[in-house]
Every structure is written in C-alpha cells, then in structure tokens.
Amino acid sequence: MKSYLLSPDKILTFVKELSRDGSLYYPMFEEGRTHLVRFDDAHEFKPDFAKIRTAENIKQFFFPSRDTVAKFPKDDVRQVDKRYLFGVKNCDLRGVDIHDRVFMGWEPVDPFYKERRDKTIMISADCPEPEDSCFCNLLGLNPYGDAVCDLNFTELPAGLLFESYTKRGEEIIDAYKGMFTEVKNDDEKARKSIREKAITKLSKINSKPFKKDLPARVEAADKARIRDARDECVECHACLHACPTCYCFLLSDYKKGKDIERVRIWDTCYYAAYARVGGGANPRSRIDERFWNRFQCKFDFFNKYENTLACSGCGRCLLGCSAKIDIREILWNL
C-alpha cells in the first residue's frame, strides 16, 4: 500500500484546509483525559495523537444521544454538514463498523445514520501507547486503523505518515498532493517499529487471550442459566452509555407547538423497563438477567447475526464502572 508523508510544518495547514471543507474534530489532552475538540482558527491547535481513544466514544457523531427523526403530521428534511474526524482510534472504528451493520447493513437503511456516515470523513491515527484498560488485541484488532477509516496516519518525528483505505481517502490525498513529500524507507521502518511496540505492550497488558469459542461459552452459560450477577453492579449504566458498539435506542414523542417531534434517544438494556411490554410481562425483570443480557448480546447474539463480536476492547466500560467490574475477567472466566 502506498504511503504519503506530511511533514510537521504542514500539519496545521493541512488541518486548516480540511476545516474549510467541513468542521474538523481532533483529540486534545486536557486534565488527564483526551477529548475530541472542534478545530477553529481562533484557538491554538494542540493535538495529542499518541494518547489512547478519547474519553467520549465517537458514536455521537453518527448516532447522537438525542436526535429528532420525524415530525408529525408533516415530516421535513434535516441537513447534516460535512465533518472530519481527525485522529480517532481503531477501537472506535470497530464501533462504527458494528453500527454500519445495524443501521445500513440490513433493510431498511437508517437515513439519518447514513447521511452522517456519508458526510463524515474518518482519518484515524495509530495508537502507540495502549493503557491498562485497553484490550483491542483480545478482539483481534490492531492498534491502528486498517479498515472502516478513509485514511490512517502514524505520527513520526518526520511527520504524519498516511495510508488510504477508501476512494474518499485517495481523493483527499489527491486534492492536497502538493503538501505530501516522498516517503523514505526509514519512515516505513519507524512506523513498523511503533506498531510492533504497541502490539507487544497490548499483549503484555492482556497476555491471556479470550477462548476461541467465546460465543459458544456465552451461549452455554446462558443455557445453564449461569449469570455472573455481580452484586457490585449499581445499575449506573455507564458501561453501556460509554460503549461505542451499543446501539439500543428508544423512540419518544414530544409536543412542539402544533406538531409532534419524534426523538431517538440512547437507551440501555440495564433499565428494568427496557423490555417490558404493555401488558406487564418482562423477560428480564431481574438485574442478573439484564447484566447477563449485555454479554449475550455482544458476544453471542451479534456473532450469530453478523459473525463478529460487538465489542471494541476500548475499555471505557471498565473505566466508567462505578463498581470497578472488569468485563475481561468475566469473559476470561467463562
């Protein structure tokens, strides 16, 4: 695959150019956490591409936590602007991959998700310094973008070394080709070394792989009604809201003047009323059933449906957990 080098003195110009075409978001480290912030000329551009994924997951860009999806009785068309996500990480790309399958993979295609996806260009960055909460390697992911993204770059002393994964990515490289310089052998070697180091670090953090038949083990535990109830769970739902692959939502209607607005809101399967029907029957009235449903959904059901696990290994769930429950331990022990 062909690589393209953007020297350090050109990065700001490149970002400025892109931000003229659409709003651009990049990771900035602040008070111990990385956040995606919107680039604007008036503020200093202080990216941090070396840190792990941002504190917030990126599903908000495609599937906002609160989104008007219809108006009644007369619907209208809502426009979305073009956007660049510059420097996102591969775990979050896995989240987008899962959402692509749900919202665009089977009929009907979700028009709101699709429009945002079509209008958002994803430029991912290598993740050279995985932290203890990271476990993307257990899900078969690399600590760098190699699918789903339009472009991926590795941060090197010589600049940002890009590779393109889509036609859109090629078009960006083409449009700004004057900015890129020739790639040297040493640059590619440096990239290789950074990636190897990151992979080694990940395998030290998570030296024990998940068992190959993890979905079958989840299914077997379910059939045996073995649910790791985890009394510590306080049902704060942080794990689910922070999760880049969770896609549950609820449609709620609100009166707005004479019209009704139908709003799509993130939902989570830990709510007691989540699956309750009008007549009162509830398939998961107990917390152990709901707690386990999360595992069944991600590691059994989604695998049956789409032949992939609906987890990205981003570690947000275990960092966000009020009770310090580590999803890895539950899966390792199955």
Partner: protein, 271 residues
C-alpha cells in the same frame, strides 16, 4: 434514491370505534395506510403520547385497517380517550407474516386467548378469503368471562361457515353462559386434526401461550409447525433499536411470528 424515513408515521383518521369488551375496543381507520399480510404488525402513534406495536385485526384484503386493542398502559389509555375523526399515525408493515403457503391443503389449528384473537382474526379472515385452499380451519378461543369475549358480534356468523370449527371457553362463567368453563387448554382436550402435518397458531397472554404450546407439543404437533405470535417491546420495528431481541432474533424483523422450534431453547420465551 434516498432511503425513506422508517420512523415517520403516516397520519390517518379514526373512522369508527367499536367497543368489544369492557377493556377491549376495535378502532377502524379511515383507509389503509399500507398493504400488509396477516401476522405482520404496525406501530400506532397517538400524537404527543407515543407509539406502541399492534397487529391489525382486519383482513389484509380489506380496503381499510382495523386494530383491536386492550387498554393496558399509557399509549392505550390515551387511545381509548380518542374519538371518531381524531388523527393517529401508523408505521409498517413490520416483520414476517404467517406463512400461509405452508398451510395450503391442511387443517389449520388456531388457539387464541383474550385480546390475542386480534391478529388471529386477521389470519382467519385471510384464510376465509381463500377457504378452498385449506382443508378445515379450527379455532379454539378462551376468554376470562363471557363479557371478555371479543368479536361477539361476528362469532355466530363464523360458526355457521362450513369447514370452520370454532369452540370457546371462559375461565369463569355466568348464568347466561352455556359453553365450556375453564382455561383454554380445556378445549384442547380433543384435537381432531392430523397433528403430524397440521400447522397450529397460538396467540394470547404469556401463560396461555405457555400452556397451550405445551399441550400442542404433547399431542404431537411438529415444533416447526407451531407458530407463535411473540409479544415483545418493539420500539423501532425495523431491527435496529434492540428492544425486542430474544435469543438470536429481533422479534420485530425475524418475527413477530416465530415457531416453537425457534424459541424452545429460550428461558421463558413468552415473558
């Protein structure tokens, strides 16, 4: 072509309201917002209150759409306050219908409980439309009391139809009731069909579905021939919001009609 908005409900007026029982009412819409097949469901929007899933109770061949609905919660409470001429919204059709092609030339054995007769009426009317295609249609229906029987105004006519065999029972009778008394399984004591080949269809409250299905399995219906209308909390209707997932199915998209073969490994599938 731009994808259409699957969350937008088509506005339609309520044309007629027919109370069936003290807490079950049939709402006849002014027209048919979309075509559907028996067993497919729709999301009914009550403006500014919300929406809930219901299966039409009218024939797919009619030029209007009907829903027979029990008053159970927030959305249905609001619906029961509506009047003829009021505007509601409808989305659909969602999910897979009853596979009528598998019923051809066979005896169709239908078991219903309470308001579960609503989707079964749609199925029954679809079968009546081409009755010559089926050997015989059996209906076994149970309600709590004689007062709670839905379609009292229609049942006597249905019972007169050749090749239709309709029996009823009530959990608790009264002086006027001359028929069987007991839960629906009391009229499943004798099942006069060829259980090896016949399809059976069950719809009703969770316990009724559980015990009726047990009985059908016991007398030898094939697991893949027992069709169950699964009641789950469908919000989006299009296999995205995840609320109705049970086992490996999105009930809204892969159901709502699933077979006992599909769901028998699920713990308490009817809950």
């Amino acid at each position: 072509m731009e994808p259409i908005n699957p969350y937008y409900p088509i506005p339609v007026k309520i044309k007629e309201i027919i109370p069936e029982t003290p807490n079950i009412t049939t709402f006849i819409l002014d027209g048919k917002p979309f075509d559907f097949e028996a067993g497919q469901f729709a999301e009914l929007t009550i403006p500014s209150v919300g929406e809930a899933p219901f299966t039409p109770s009218s024939s797919p061949y009619d030029d209007h759409m009907e829903f027979t609905i029990m008053k159970v919660g927030r959305v249905t409470d609001a619906l029961f306050n509506m009047k003829e001429g009021d505007l509601v919204g409808v989305r659909g059709p969602f999910g897979k219908p009853y596979p009528l092609q598998n019923f051809k030339g066979k005896e169709v054995f239908i078991v219903g409980g309470g308001v579960g007769f609503a989707p079964l009426r749609s199925l029954f009317l679809a079968l009546l439309h081409d009755l010559k295609n089926y050997k015989k249609v059996y209906i076994r229906y149970g309600a709590r009391t004689p007062q709670d029987i839905v379609y009292k105004r229609l049942i006597p006519e249905w019972q007169k139809i050749d090749r239709v065999d309709l029996l009823m029972t009530v959990d608790v009778g009264d002086e006027s009731w001359k028929g069987r008394v007991g839960v629906v399984t009391v009229i499943l004591d004798k099942i006069p069909v060829d259980v090896k080949t016949s399809p059976s269809v069950v719809c009703g409250p969770p316990l009724m579905m559980k015990f009726s299905t047990q009985r059908l399995v016991e007398v030898g219906f094939k697991h893949e021939n027992i069709y169950l209308s699964m009641e789950k909390n469908m919000s989006c209707g299009v296999g995205k919001c995840n609320h109705c997932r049970v086992g490996k199915f999105y009930v809204c998209k892969d159901g709502p009609v699933l077979t006992w073969q599909d769901v028998k490994d699920i713990e308490e599938p009817f809950l």
